[in-house]
């Protein structure tokens, strides 16, 4: 089984309800906004509980991987800056425009700058995964001449990424708005 890169792994195995939730809450307090936590639990009710907890508290529930008895839940701490809608990169496209290009088999690159665990549970087929925090170290993996469409969840991280790419010699960079939060096209997930 593939392991997903996270900022923190919380061991809540063997604990009964409501302990996995209580421990998750405590762990979340120590994380920075935007960081991802893996919560390992054996409480079968935790799958529904963690999801409901995330919805109530405003954190992002990414998904769950079942490994035998162990449920591995992935959550991303909410960040306020993502609520903003103002973006700075001048070239933007809507989800629909990107979907059309994909359907038309145009030779474009879809760059997904969300965290690895977010990407794992739901991404556009063939999208390249480079989390925003790693982008500057991984420019060489991308072709400066390619037509690159940058996506994230809401269009905020992808805006930062698009600006960075444009500043570093990438010529055809487009920020996709809003991105995966409103994506209705086809996707791929680790949980098939």
């Amino acid at each position: 089984m593939e392991t997903l890169k996270t900022d923190f792994v919380l061991d809540a195995k063997g604990l009964a309800c409501p302990m996995p939730i209580v421990k998750t809450k405590k762990a979340m307090n120590d994380l920075e906004a935007g960081q991802v936590v893996e919560v390992q639990a054996t409480d079968k009710g935790s799958k529904a509980d963690i999801k409901a907890w995330a919805e109530s508290t405003g954190h992002q529930y990414l998904g769950t991987i079942e490994e035998g008895e162990v449920l591995k839940h992935y959550l991303r701490k909410s960040s306020n800056d993502e609520a903003k809608t103002e973006t700075k990169h001048p070239v933007v496209a809507t989800n629909e425009e990107l979907e059309k290009k994909l359907q038309g088999n145009e030779s474009i690159v879809v760059l997904d700058v969300r965290e690895e665990a977010e990407y794992a549970f739901n991404h556009i087929p063939n999208a390249i995964c480079i989390p925003l925090g790693q982008l500057e170290d991984r420019f060489t993996e991308l072709d400066q001449e390619a037509e690159i469409f940058v996506v994230c969840r809401t269009g905020s991280r992808s805006d930062f990424a698009a600006q960075k790419l444009a500043q570093n010699g990438f010529k055809k960079v487009t920020n996709v708005i809003p991105g995966m939060s409103g994506w209705t096209g086809s996707t791929t997930t680790i949980n098939n």
Partner: protein, 131 residues
């Protein structure tokens, strides 16, 4: 504004204690404001000595094994956790007077108040529960 959960704990058995503290800690961990009003036998749940050996309902003693197997925390631990999570615990003054109990026999951090103290909190609560 976070949601408010108001709980009345008026029974003193082990099952009652878990019902109260599971809901209370889960709600507090979900960023909800929680207050529990302990009245009559419910005071046992926060009594320093009594809450270490709360009785199972008659005929259900065999569940002790299940509790151990499911790795359920003991009630004093649940109380401490509730306190850490900011759950407000109010002991009923009237019951304490009737039973001749002083605040010192209860766990640290509780408040003592009357029905109105609780009602003031419960007045605009989103959820009110009685156990």
């Amino acid at each position: 504004m976070s949601k408010k959960v108001a709980i009345i704990a008026s029974n003193g058995g082990l099952f009652d204690a878990y019902k109260v503290f599971n809901i209370a800690t889960a709600a507090a961990a979900t960023d909800q404001e929680v207050a529990i009003f302990f009245t009559f036998e419910g005071l046992n749940l926060i009594h320093k000595e009594a809450n270490k050996q709360l009785p199972m309902p008659e005929g259900k003693e065999h569940f002790a094994e299940g509790f151990a197997k499911a790795n359920v925390p003991a009630i004093p631990e649940m109380v401490a956790m509730a306190g850490e999570l900011g759950v407000k615990m109010i002991g009923c003054q009237m019951t304490m007077d009737v039973m001749g109990l002083e605040k010192e026999v209860f766990v640290d951090g509780i408040e003592v108040g009357g029905a109105v103290t609780f009602l003031e909190f419960a007045n605009d609560a989103d959820v009110t529960l009685t156990f």
